[in-house]
């Protein structure tokens, strides 16, 4: 016992792949996804597992995917952003108004993105300098941003005439819709950011333990503001896709309830609400599950009200499963 411990020092260093460790979590998600695919194929063999419908699912999840990845980063940093659905709606309205005034897609898209950036930055400033708890702050702005979206045109939608946005909403490249390509590019960006950059690494640190992060010299307030601003921009990008799809600015339709789905996907994907834990790949698997579920429920004629019930239950269930696992591992 007196001799100092002389276990062999460490050798060998496993590479950090940008895919992260394919944890058991991701494998169980894959299994769940395959199970859903099998069930819906069995229920609607004629339509569900067809290239056309699969592309439909892909299109439907673009918006959710962008939001879920941004939400993952927010949750990993130790926060939560429930205003994203409202920012999507608001940004489509700003985009549509700018389009009407200038008739320039470039200007319209910029205005839309800027509105998201401002909205997100406002969230961040409230949370840091209030200081207000993130859930409360974004609960407030969720209502406020939705309000602005309605105010802009008295609650009515605004048509958008832009061939370029129509391309984004409906065009294809190499057989895949452009929107899906956009999602893939954004996903690659997020994966590199979280796994390969110092800033991404620091986001995990500040969520894992803010005290440690602060003592390590990470400027947490600036990080927080940037993260919420990023979340706002991501919501505006999602809004741009939505505007392309509907060829209009929509204050509410198509963006209501997105925050619930984005948070559900992130948590299904393994995000811990306490922060510091979560992956982009996991969140995207969560997004696929929700996308397949949505699509399958429509095809099997589950009434809308029951769909809402199912989605709510899924979120609560995901958290319960996560807490149980945590208790078992004794974390």
């Amino acid at each position: 016992m007196n001799a100092p411990s002389t276990t062999q020092p460490v050798v060998g260093a496993p590479k950090t792949s940008i895919f992260g460790r394919t944890g058991t979590q991701n494998i169980s998600l894959l299994i769940a996804l395959i199970a859903l695919l099998v069930i819906f194929t069995a229920l609607r063999p004629d339509v569900f597992f067809t290239p056309r419908n699969l592309i439909n699912i892909g299109l439907a999840i673009t918006i959710l995917g962008i939001l879920a990845m941004a939400q993952t980063l927010v949750i990993v940093s130790g926060g939560l952003d429930i205003s994203v659905g409202s920012i999507v709606g608001m940004s489509t309205m700003f985009l549509a108004v700018a389009m009407q005034w200038t008739d320039s897609t470039v200007v319209a898209v910029l205005v839309g993105l800027l509105s998201g950036l401002f909205a997100g930055a406002i969230n961040g400033l409230i949370i840091v300098y209030g200081p207000v708890n993130a859930v409360i702050a974004t609960l407030g702005t969720m209502s406020a941003f939705r309000g602005i979206a309605y105010i802009i045109n008295n609650g009515n939608s605004i048509p958008v005439q832009s061939p370029a946005l129509r391309m984004l909403g409906t065009g294809t490249l190499l057989g895949l819709p452009l929107a899906i390509w956009l999602l893939i590019v954004i996903m690659a960006g997020f994966m590199i950011f979280t796994k390969k950059t110092i800033i991404g690494r620091n986001v995990y640190a500040m969520g894992g333990n803010p005290t440690v992060a602060r003592l390590a010299g990470i400027p947490i307030p600036s990080y927080q503001i940037c993260i919420y601003a990023m979340s706002g921009v991501a919501a505006a990008v999602a809004g741009m896709v939505l505007a392309g799809r509907t060829m209009s600015g929509q204050p509410a339709s198509g963006s209501q309830g997105l925050e619930l789905e984005a948070i559900t996907a992130a948590i299904l994907g393994g995000c811990a609400l306490t922060g510091g834990k979560g992956t982009i790949v996991g969140a995207m698997l969560g997004v696929l599950i929700i996308g397949v579920l949505n699509n399958g429920m429509i095809l099997t004629s589950v009434p809308t009200f029951y769909q809402l019930l199912a989605k709510g239950a899924l979120l609560v269930l995901a958290v319960i499963v996560q807490e149980r696992q945590k208790a078992r591992k004794g974390e």
Binding site: M1, S5, A205, T211, G217
Partner: protein, 506 residues
Amino acid sequence: MTTSREPIVQVRGVSKSFGVVKALRDVSAEFYPGEVCALMGENGAGKSTLMRLLEGEHRPDEGEIRIGGQVVHLRSAREAQAHGIRVIHQEPEIIPEMTVAENIFIGDFRARSGIFLDTDDLFERARQLIASLGISGLLAAEQPCRDLGPAQRQLIEIMRALRPGAKLLAFDEPTSSLTEDEAGHLFATIRRLREEGVSVVYISHRLKEVLELADRCIVLRDGAVVASLPVTEIDEAKMVRLMVGRPISDLFHRRVRQLGPARIELENVTTKKISNVSLTVRAGEIVGLGGLIGSGRTEVARAIVGVDKVIAGKMRASGAAYAPASPGDAIRARIGLVPEDRKQEALLLVQSIRDNVSLVVPQKISTFGFINSARENELANKHVAELRVKTPSISQPVGKLSGGNQQKVVFARWQASEPLLLILDEPTRGIDVGAKAEIYRLVEDLADKGIAILLISSEMTELLGLSDRILVMSEGRITGELDGATATEESVLDLAMNHNSMKALP
């Protein structure tokens, strides 16, 4: 001594592990009525774990606990309390918005007419208890607990346990935040309890107290009982050998080092918590900072690394004016801090060893903000190997390591940053003896390399064994300086108690 030979509480062959850490190995002990039994051992020896088992907080992996001869399976603190077992914790839980009386009797409020809280009765009971301890000058029953100091909070915790029905009372380092005077009252109370036939377990590593108070002494080391003997058979050298497992001279080497330029100079630094602190640590020097818990030592560290705002006074780092606005400024000045609570303040427990080691040196592992994995692995491997962290891989989450190895990861982080000054706040808290010896050697090696070390420690052996100079603090001020080679436990404690007059009640 009125010891009857029927033990009140018996622990038989108890083992308990937390992950890879064996906290208790095959521990057997008896506690008799009318006896004060001292439980001794270094931090991490298993004293607290044993107490947690007795109070139903943890359950043993193996072995059994008997109370009054009956095997019991304690599942909660409530059950243990019902059996008359009370543990007085070192860091009491106090509800700040409640009064002293409410805090003492929480869970035991009496009602008038069946439903209404009987406040008269509550305050009366509290006043009696306070008076019986002879501390009416320090606490008032009606006082809100918000503004109480650590010593007063400790007294409340003690009074909670003194409620009627106690058979075994365990005190976990009760004097760590008390003045000599208060400790005197406490000792008198403990003696009275012994007369009343209560079994008292007294945890401490202050030998003087133990010799004064205890009848018998159980020594734990690395989770195992190494001795159980009457206090009359104990002297200091023997006790240290039992606790540490080797003579002190094996742990510390006291080398004479060439001192370099001053790495940190504080001149009358004042923050909200400390006043007029002046000190200098030179390259290659180990300066110890002693004092009681809450005396302001950690706050000196917080001022130096830019967490607490300096209101008055000046600091210089390596000769240059230094006024850190954030810990980032400290890191840029190459000042590192190994904080007191490594799980809360130093480590990202779910993250890998690699991520933890590279945390403060992003510039060394990246190009334009993009991480170079090869360089990062190389850096982490190098320091992890140098410090002999026991782990299968640097991808291992830090939370899965033992306390000693976790602390080595914290040291690896700062070693990677090549600091000029390293502040160590209780660097061996909660780690086993083997790892402790390694940390001591490491600290000496760092000083040999010319790093300035400011060592905050409540462990006397460590403070006296490592420091070249010792500064002692009390109530936020430095009360004296001692030479490391000649300082003794008594001389440090004298200075630590120096200005220690607790604020009288208004």
